[in-house]
């Protein structure tokens, strides 16, 4: 066999079932090998960025490693955004790129680019394969590095002649990476200290991040919360990592988190960070974040400990084991009823500070009447009680409203771009999630700006039989930018108007073989969503909403939780 066959045999040996990609010159041998036969299904994307986000969506929905394939040069650079996204959100990803023939490297050959060089700051590791005999070892190492320790992306760049060279294929049983030593166990003494802190706390809280999903530790974090009767906030990345209808779930913190959730986190005396990294969108002004609280930080990545906020009790290791051991101690040491008053206080804040928006219809006849928040509420009520929904989102106002109004009780059902904030993530991620969960109804909550960045992947959804529902919360603007310009630049709107009606999203959907709906009022929206969700087809629902709505509450960038800006007008509580 040749090197390309060896790549496929390696993928098969790793148990890979799906890969997402787009062929080109330097990766032709690999696609030729696919044509000769493999058990791995290849999903043909329309753009390599789409392929990369599909692989991410697949990884996040399945808990497995995602695989993306692209050719050299522009194919590889189109993967850079998904790689950076996977890096920021710790999504396990193996990217395979073709490279120009070995003797052409460094000559500025056609479609040559130094993709291993370009991606150094955003990969856990990368390999430029120079000898065909390295392929099995490199592939084994790639999957190992992507999925152990803190998950993340790796890149394997293979020159065309290496793909074509002959090899006697033997897949290794073990990796030989002397410099790669992820922590194996959390230290018992530190776990004991963590339990002590929790037992002594008056107002403890679990601040849960995306690490619990990567660690497959959602059952364990639930057990810990219940053992200590501890309130839980989940970050954007951890949404669906803890059942949101559980009484101990007290919302999610950060810039657009409900006021009561931020109150709970900021007034706690012991904050237990679980696979979370004190991101600036969560903490706001660092010196005012949970002032005086004892910080217990559980993480697989030692470099996250005290990176942003000093950890009084650090525990480095796999969350699954740490949480299980910690739960045993907490169950023994936390007195029953100890947190009751604290939970009661949070419940009062919850009553006091519900999410609000104006439910009054707009007086002006020219603007759409639909309220974006109402769109999300309707989506939630139409899907309430269903356990087969997987959500993806783009980035912006609609994403924050999705966070506020959509409830997730099952792990891996909310897939969004957190750290990098990649507009255009939602639609291809939905296609990847559908590939991972064919049984699920995958709904992408998108913005009109985001949708237009990757909507060509509607073709992939339609032709690869990976049907998804896309709800465009269409306010005709780059809404979050508009909100910032309105709030912080005295309403000087600069280059944010996309218009509600160009393109005609429903017509565009039909052009891609999907069903298209336009909704301008609640009746049309309910009918469109009901039909779309039940259709089993790829659908686009264009919900035309009021562009003047801001996403509240909002803690301005760099401000403290007490400086939160809330909805001001008539204050009609709706949740």
């Amino acid at each position: 066999m040749n090197g390309a066959d060896a790549v496929l045999r390696s993928l098969e040996a790793e148990g890979v079932e799906m890969m997402f990609g787009l062929p080109g010159g330097a990766i032709l041998p690999l696609y030729d090998a696919m044509a000769r036969g493999t058990t791995v299904r290849h999903v043909l994307a329309r753009h390599e960025q789409g392929a990369g986000h599909m692989a991410e969506g697949y990884a996040r929905a399945s808990g497995r490693v995602g695989v993306a394939v692209a050719t050299s040069g522009p194919g590889a650079t189109n993967l850079v955004t998904p790689i950076a996204d996977a890096w920021m959100d710790s999504t396990p990803l193996v990217c395979i790129t073709g490279q120009v023939k070995s003797f052409l490297i460094g000559t500025d050959a056609f479609q040559e680019c130094d993709i291993t060089g370009i991606t150094i700051p955003i990969v856990k590791h990368s390999w430029l394969v120079q000898d065909v005999n390295e392929i099995p070892h490199v592939m084994k190492a790639a999957f190992h590095v992507a999925s152990t320790g803190r998950c993340g992306p790796v890149l394997v760049d293979i020159p065309r002649d290496v793909q074509e060279a002959e090899i006697d294929f033997v897949y290794p049983d073990e990796v030989n990476l002397p410099g790669w030593k992820p922590p194996r166990r959390g230290h018992p003494r530190q776990i004991k200290a963590a339990a002590q802190s929790i037992a002594e706390a008056e107002r403890p809280i679990l601040y849960v991040g995306g690490g619990v999903l990567n660690a497959h530790a959602t059952d364990e974090v639930l057990a810990l919360a219940e053992a200590g009767n501890l309130p839980v906030v989940t970050t954007l990345m951890a949404k669906s990592g803890f059942p949101e209808s559980h009484e101990l779930h007290v919302g999610w913190p950060g810039m657009h988190g409900p006021k009561w959730s931020n109150w709970a986190l900021n007034k706690a005396d012991v904050v237990v960070a679980v696979g979370a990294r004190f991101d600036d969108r969560v903490t706001g002004k660092l010196s005012a974040f949970a002032p005086g609280a004892t910080i217990v930080h559980l993480d697989i990545d030692a470099a996250e400990i005290s990176k942003i906020r000093h950890a009084d009790v650090p525990v480095v290791g796999p969350l699954k084991q740490i949480l299980a051991d910690l739960t045993k101690l907490v169950a023994d040491e936390v007195l029953p009823g100890r947190t009751d008053a604290w939970l009661q206080q949070i419940a009062e804040w919850r009553e006091q500070y519900p999410l609000r928006y104006s439910a009054e219809p707009n007086p002006a006849g020219t603007v759409p009447m639909l309220k974006p928040q109402r769109v999300l509420q309707m989506l939630q009520s139409l899907t309430a009680g269903r356990d087969d929904i997987v959500w993806t989102t783009g980035v912006g106002q609609h994403q924050m409203w999705a966070m506020q109004y959509v409830l997730c009780d099952r792990p891996r059902t909310f897939i969004t771009s957190g750290g990098l904030g990649t507009m255009g993530y939602g639609l291809p991620a939905a296609v990847g999630a559908k590939a991972a969960r064919p049984d699920a109804t995958v709904i992408c909550i998108d913005g009109d700006g985001c949708f237009q960045m990757t909507c060509q992947e509607l073709a992939t959804a339609a032709l690869e039989d990976l049907p998804i529902v896309v709800l465009i919360v269409n306010n005709g603007y780059l809404g979050m930018v508009r909100q910032w310009q309105d709030m912080f630049s005295e309403g000087r709107f600069s280059q944010v108007n996309l218009t509600h009606s160009l393109p005609d999203y429903a017509a565009l959907a039909r052009a891609y073989g999907a069903l298209g709906f336009t909704a301008e009022n609640e009746e049309e929206l309910e009918e469109a969503l009901t039909t779309a969700i039940a259709s089993g087809r790829t659908c686009v629902v264009d919900a035309r909403v009021d562009p003047r709505e801001h996403c509240f509450p909002m803690i301005p960038a760099g401000a403290a939780a007490v400086d939160v800006v809330e909805f001001q007008e008539t204050e009609v509580p709706v949740v």
């Binding site: 291993t116 700051p121 590791h125 030593k181 230290h187 030692a302 470099a303 400990i305």
Partner: protein, 171 residues
């Protein structure tokens, strides 16, 4: 505060780039850097000098430990380690100034590597501080060109190496 960090890396293509890229990306400035093979041909040692707070130093060590090619990261603490640097200095040396310069060189054990009609090239090996002092002393004579290797270092023979294993450091 300045720190010297010794990094053992696999002798593989790109290993040095990955290390230096981490410094650039995280906003740490490298003051000097020296790299070469060790007693094992498949392992290289990178000696780095950085100016940062202790908190940042911990971050640097942890971030370096996450790199797949990095085998071990050690801070070379003053007092527990030896540091040396090699410098070549081309100094203006008209016949009238030669004697004084040669005397200076003798004090610092600087070898005369080359001697021309108007200049001398000194070769000096010593602690980086010695090199600094010598540089200052010859500068008034006209320092035409200077090259320094950047410091290299090892822990002393009298003390065990102080390594930081990548896991479980934070007790």
């Amino acid at each position: 505060m300045k720190h010297t960090i010794s990094v053992l890396v696999e002798n593989k293509p790109g290993a040095l780039t990955r290390v230096t890229s981490m410094f650039a990306r995280r906003g740490y400035n490298i003051e000097s850097l020296a790299v070469g093979e060790t007693e094992r041909h498949d392992v290289s040692r990178i000696t780095l000098r950085v100016d940062c707070e202790t908190h940042s130093l911990e971050q640097i060590e942890k971030q370096l430990n996450k790199l797949v090619n990095v085998l071990r990261v050690t801070e070379l603490a003053p007092g527990e380690s030896l540091e040396r640097e090699l410098a070549l200095l081309k100094v203006s040396a008209p016949p009238s100034a030669r004697a004084e310069l040669m005397a200076l060189g003798e004090v610092f054990n600087a070898r005369i590597a080359d001697l021309g009609p108007d200049s001398i090239v000194f070769e000096l090996t010593g602690s980086p501080e010695d090199v600094d002092s010598f540089e200052e002393l010859v500068r008034p004579h006209g320092l035409q060109e200077l090259v320094r290797t950047g410091r290299i270092g090892l822990t002393r023979a009298t003390r065990a190496p102080r390594g930081n294993a990548p896991q479980q450091v934070l007790a």
